[in-house]
Amino acid sequence: MRGRQALAVIPYARFLDVRIEDDRQGIVCVLPFRDDLVGNVALPALHGGVVGAFLELTALVQAIELVDSERVPKPITFTVDYLRSAGPRDTRGRAEVVKHGRRIANVRVLAWQEDPARPVAAGIGNFLL
């Protein structure tokens, strides 16, 4: 299963409306901004959980690209560092597989909004393939 197919069959990915953009360095996932993703109306800012979930989804899409399987890899651990508040605009994420073993993939992911050099959140996770 490829990343695009995965996004199409995972209901939560459709709920967030996450899409894939490609660039020369590989896959970039996009989370379009929507009012009902806001967690703090005063700032306003995306709910931290949505940012975390988007990071995990981006990492998962990258892990899926590795394996020739119909199964969705299972997260074992996932850690999110919140670096800046994520404002009311589209968020992009790029993941990198740090280690790809027989059963485990360790995947690192970064999310940003306007400027990739100013990330809003970083994540790292272990997935059971």
Binding site: P11, V38, G48, E56, F78
Partner: protein, 180 residues
């Protein structure tokens, strides 16, 4: 008086405990559904505050098909657990503050202990076990069968007084104070 209302608020203030001041004391109790109404994403997911008390919060996330992460196993996407536990953790931090301040999640680590049962409501329970001047430390678990059988556990840290803008909960409390 800070121990009115919820049963476990009374239990938490046992004989011999020093009197504690909680900025959120008047919101402590069970079924505080209104605490989610002003947060668009929580409203969209139908999240509810089951219980909030000194340094603790319990939040329910009702099952919805659109939150499924694995179409074969029909379990909620792992990242949705992040939303549940981030929110429960943030509320536990709010519930530990002597004075209202803004907070922001600094980091969360989630361990997925087992697959959650398919098509079940999920509960997130958080405890702020240490509060310092600038940082709050939280442990949380998520379960669907019962609190003794969690499917995920979580450690989180939150910045306290992270910025000058009003948090939604602070606004709710001020609105209540204004109307009362």
């Amino acid at each position: 008086m800070h121990c009115r209302g919820a049963t476990f608020a009374i239990l938490a203030c046992g004989v011999g405990d020093p009197p504690e001041r909680y900025a959120l004391a008047e919101l402590f109790g069970t079924a505080r559904r209104e605490m989610m109404d002003h947060i668009p994403h929580c409203r969209r997911l139908g999240m509810e505050v089951m219980e909030i008390g000194p340094r603790r919060a319990t939040v329910r996330l009702p099952y919805r098909d659109e939150l499924v992460g694995d179409p074969v196993r029909r379990v909620v996407f792992g990242g949705v657990i992040t939303t549940l536990l981030d929110h429960a953790g943030g509320l536990a931090v709010f519930a530990s503050l002597p004075e209202l301040k803004t907070i922001a999640t600094l980091d969360l680590r989630i361990d997925y202990l087992r697959a959650a049962d398919a098509e079940r409501d999920l509960v997130g329970e958080a405890h702020c076990y240490k509060l310092t001047t600038h940082v709050a430390f939280v442990r949380a678990t998520a379960w669907e069968r019962g609190p003794d059988d969690p499917f995920a556990s979580c450690l989180g840290t939150f910045m306290v007084g992270a910025n000058t803008s009003l948090s939604p909960t602070a606004r709710l409390l001020r609105a209540r104070a204004g109307s009362g």
